[in-house]
């Protein structure tokens, strides 16, 4: 497992070189299995039906609109993308585009489409249909929650010839190449672009992927059926022909005890939503598990630097130093890892920054003393009659982890109040006056750090801070296509985010699939979304 997850600088460089060479050859062999496997090494069996449980459904399975992981598990299987990201190396490789090129300042991207691939309604996948797709996503606007941000700044989509399309940006957008590998920019038939938002959500679209939507009853179940004649699977998977499974049935099971019991009693075959406390019972005993760290920004306590107490860098760094990340990660599954950088270890361009990000309570106390926060009567430090007390309002299932952080901070004299609430109330509480927000963001590209931390829009500016030395670095990495140069900028930016206490990372989010032993080769794609294409089921 660990060599799959742990990424180094090398492969990341490969990524960019491929981009520079204009044409990463489609013939690049991938003899080894790219995806984490099931329990056996037998040859795949074609046929059979898989029942998979998801915990939630927002009543929409349109790949171009959605953003929640459970529905993505359905939608991802129905569309192919221009490129594919290798889950092992993070490298971008050809998929529906047999060749692609990026200009030196990452403002213009040209894709040459493979021939012979079709949408499930029979239409050819050509350059004009790519243009139709991207224009449809722009028309959806904010409703295409992820896709619309990937296409921000597009000035022109030119159909150069029947199978060549060029996309131009007003400003450098190095993230776009990786974006073309995501389901959000996955291709639907031109006829699907004309459907209403509701019809697209209801699964009435025709996709380009190995599965088609057979039926979809929101909040209950979706049934996907494999497409016969499909033979353009991505090079990073184990095969390229039609999917092995006849059908995949997704059942929506909101109650976690029902989910666990249903998997144990064989009423479902697999799920990625088993509660952490129930996971140990599926490790063996006729079941297997596979885990992958989600790429992107790790779970962070984002300090609000517009508040007086957290405007002081020493206080932010004291908090960063006081958290024993290794202990926090132990509260999760046995697969989970502490944060070792702003980004998680499965993100391309990740480098371990443990030398900067360390557990050092002595240093923490020193910093607080220097900042004038001295021990108070109840063990919590005070300055000028004010207690060193903070509040974080969150909705993510991180109670245990944050409670440990709370204890660790208390040990150096910092009081962290925790308020667990609904997503709706948390978004209200975190209105700009909060002390901290708690969160992460999944994306297999380092540009995700810019969209979270940068001061200049489009960004969340989670720190509510003013421009600093890190902002030019974040902007430059987005404008740099050359991998070695981009790597340098990314590492510099992330180091600075840690050294300035803008980022207080805690642990890395991961996804665990638990499956019965008759399920094989169900795994993850590069963004830790589920991939059913290679999956098969023994009779």
């Amino acid at each position: 497992m660990s060599n799959l997850i742990r990424r180094t600088v090398g492969p990341a460089a490969v990524l960019g070189i491929a981009a520079l060479l204009l044409s990463a050859c489609a013939s690049s062999p991938s003899p080894t299995s790219a995806l984490p496997a099931g329990s056996t090494k037998n040859a795949p069996v074609s046929g059979g039906n898989l029942t998979f449980a998801i915990a939630s459904d927002i009543a929409c399975i349109d790949p171009q609109q959605i953003g929640n992981n459970d529905d993505i598990a359905i939608a991802r299987q129905t569309v192919d993308s221009l490129t594919v990201q290798d889950p092992k190396t993070g490298a971008i490789k050809p998929w529906l585009a047999s060749k692609y090129s990026v200009n030196s300042d990452a403002t213009s991207f040209t894709f040459t489409l493979r021939t012979g691939a079709t949408y499930s309604d029979g239409e050819a996948i050509d350059a004009a249909s790519v243009k139709t797709n991207f224009e449809a996503i722009q028309a959806l606007g904010a409703k295409a929650v992820l896709g619309s941000t990937y296409l921000a700044g597009v000035t022109a989509i030119d159909v150069v010839s029947s199978n060549v399309v060029r996309i131009d940006f007003s400003a450098p957008s190095a993230q776009f190449l990786q974006a073309t590998s995501t389901f959000s920019l996955g291709l639907l038939s031109p006829a699907s672009a004309k459907l209403t938002q509701a019809d697209r959500c209801a699964g009435k679209f025709s996709g380009s992927g190995p599965f088609v939507v057979n039926s979809y009853l929101p909040n209950a179940q979706a049934v996907l059926a494999r497409r016969t004649g499909y033979n353009w699977g991505p090079s990073v998977n184990r095969h390229t022909g039609p999917a092995y499974l006849n059908t995949v049935t997704y059942k929506v099971v909101p109650e976690s005890s029902t989910l666990t019991g249903s998997l144990q009693s064989g009423q479902i075959d697999a799920s990625a939503d088993i509660a952490i406390t129930d996971l140990p019972s599926f490790d063996g005993n006729g079941f297997w598990e596979v885990n992958r760290t989600n790429p992107g920004v790790a779970y962070n306590l984002y300090p609000n630097e517009s508040t007086p107490k957290l405007a002081d860098k020493r206080v932010r760094l004291a908090i960063q130093d006081a958290i024993d990340r290794a202990q926090v990660a132990k509260l999760l599954t046995k697969y989970d890892k502490p944060a070792t950088s702003v980004l998680s270890s499965s993100t391309p361009y990740f480098t371990k920054l443990s030398s900067v990000l360390k557990y050092d309570p002595t240093e923490s106390k020193k910093l607080l003393d220097a900042a004038g926060w001295k021990g108070g009567a109840d063990g919590i430090r005070v300055r000028g009659g004010q207690r060193l007390s903070f509040l974080v309002t969150y909705w993510q299932p991180s109670n245990d982890q944050l409670q440990l952080v709370q204890q660790e901070l208390r040990a150096v004299g910092i009081d962290l109040q925790l308020k667990f609430t609904t997503i709706a109330q948390a978004t209200v509480a975190n209105n700009g006056t909060q002390d901290f927000t708690w969160g992460n963001l999944t994306r297999a590209d380092p540009d995700v750090a810019r969209t979270v931390f940068a001061v200049q829009a489009p960004s969340q500016n989670v720190n509510h801070r003013t421009a600093s030395a890190v902002d030019p670095l974040l902007a430059q990495q987005a404008a740099t296509a050359a991998p070695a140069a981009r790597q340098k900028l990314v590492t510099q930016a992330l180091t600075l985010l840690l050294k300035s206490g803008d980022s207080i990372p805690v642990y890395q989010l991961s996804t665990t699939i638990a499956a019965s032993n008759k399920v094989h080769d169900l795994g993850f794609e590069a963004s830790s979304r589920l991939d059913f294409y290679d999956a098969w089921i023994s009779k």
Binding site: A53, S56, D57, I58, A59, C60, G67, N68, N69, G141, A142, K143, V145, L146, T196, Q197, A198, C201, A202, L217, P218, N219, A220, Q221, K251, V252, V253, P254, E255, S257, T258, G261, S262, Q264, S265, Q267, I268, N294, V297, Y302, T422, I423, A424, Q425, A426, T427, V428, A429, N430, T437, G439, N440, L441, T442, R443, V452, P458, Q460, V462, L509
Partner: protein, 313 residues
């Protein structure tokens, strides 16, 4: 006519109250939609502003209310902010499943409720009577989801007799229907056994007994009919209980239905969908109450429709 007018007022009040309550709740659909994308984390304010505008949430509250009310009068409740489908259509899709579940649970609840009520008064042994009269309290106080999980654990996960996930077949309905019937039946049993006890203490019962009627005849022939009236008055409340019970039952058994839809819609602050459900629930309440009014004269000849409010007061 007066009953119908009252019904309309109830519907309007339900609509208006739910509208403003949903606005008072913290959080709005746009922020949630933006935050729900990808994962957790803080939300991009620009994206929220854009979505707010698209959903029309940036207009003044009274404008939103009047526009929504005007449309609602034409039975247009607007589109779901989650997926753009008409809210009425989403509820109509979920409704048959909930009705099937409620109608399967209702006879069970009636048998359970009426049966316990009669037996707890009629049983020969004192200990049995006491045990039986304790049952309704137990049934009403045990949480529905716990009953559901217990049934699942025993009959689905261990014995494999019934499926655990929302299968819309008679066999798949058994456990959910029982889960839903228990609290509703318990509530009915509490009501009925109390009014049965009161009725049995009335002088006319002594007269019936004096005439030599058997205990069974006293109960079933004479007392039950009179004891039914207070329970019938609360039929609207019972219908409401059944509907509310579907929220928990549908979640535990992964069934699709109005209850589940309500939970997700409230969570996503999907106001159009919540409003359709609230108005529908109010409609059920109004219709059941009117039917009950019409039923009184059939049970007690002394009651005349039109003065019903006075007669039962």
């Amino acid at each position: 006519v007066r009953r119908l007018l009252q019904g309309v007022i109830v519907l309007w009040a339900a609509y208006t109250l739910s509208f403003f309550i949903l606005y008072l709740l913290p959080g709005n659909a746009a922020a949630i939609a933006a935050a729900g994308s990808g994962d957790p984390g803080s939300v991009d304010p620009a994206l929220v502003a854009k979505l707010r505008h698209e959903y029309g949430l940036d207009r003044p509250l009274y404008v939103q209310y009047l526009v929504a009310l005007g449309n609602a009068l034409r039975l247009n409740f607007g589109n779901s902010v989650q997926n753009g489908a008409p809210a009425t259509q989403l509820v109509a899709q979920a409704l048959p499943q909930t009705i099937t579940l409620a109608l399967s649970a209702l006879p069970l609840a009636l048998v359970f409720g009426v049966g316990i009520a009669i037996l707890s008064n009629l049983a020969r042994w004192r200990w049995l009577r006491q045990a039986l009269s304790a049952l309704p309290l137990l049934g009403a106080s045990v949480p529905g989801f716990w009953i559901g999980l217990l049934l699942l654990e025993a009959f689905s996960f261990n014995l494999h007799w019934f499926p655990s996930l929302g299968v819309n077949t008679p066999i798949g309905l058994v456990l959910p229907a029982i889960t839903l019937a228990i609290p509703t039946g318990a509530y009915l049993a509490q009501l009925l056994s109390r009014s049965l006890r009161l009725t049995l203490a009335k002088p006319y019962i002594e007269q019936v007994r004096a005439k030599g009627a058997s205990e069974k005849r006293v109960h079933l022939g004479h007392a039950l009919r009179n004891a039914l009236i207070p329970s019938l008055t609360l039929a609207g409340v019972l219908a409401g209980q059944l509907l509310a019970g579907t929220v928990v039952t549908e979640t535990v058994f992964s069934r699709v239905g109005v209850g589940r839809l309500a939970v997700t819609a409230v969570g996503a602050r999907d106001i159009p969908v919540v409003q359709v459900i609230v108005v529908f629930a109010a409609l059920v309440f109004v219709v059941v109450s009117i039917i009950v009014d019409l039923l009184y004269p059939l049970i007690d000849r002394r009651i005349v429709v039109g003065r019903s409010a006075l007669a039962i007061a």
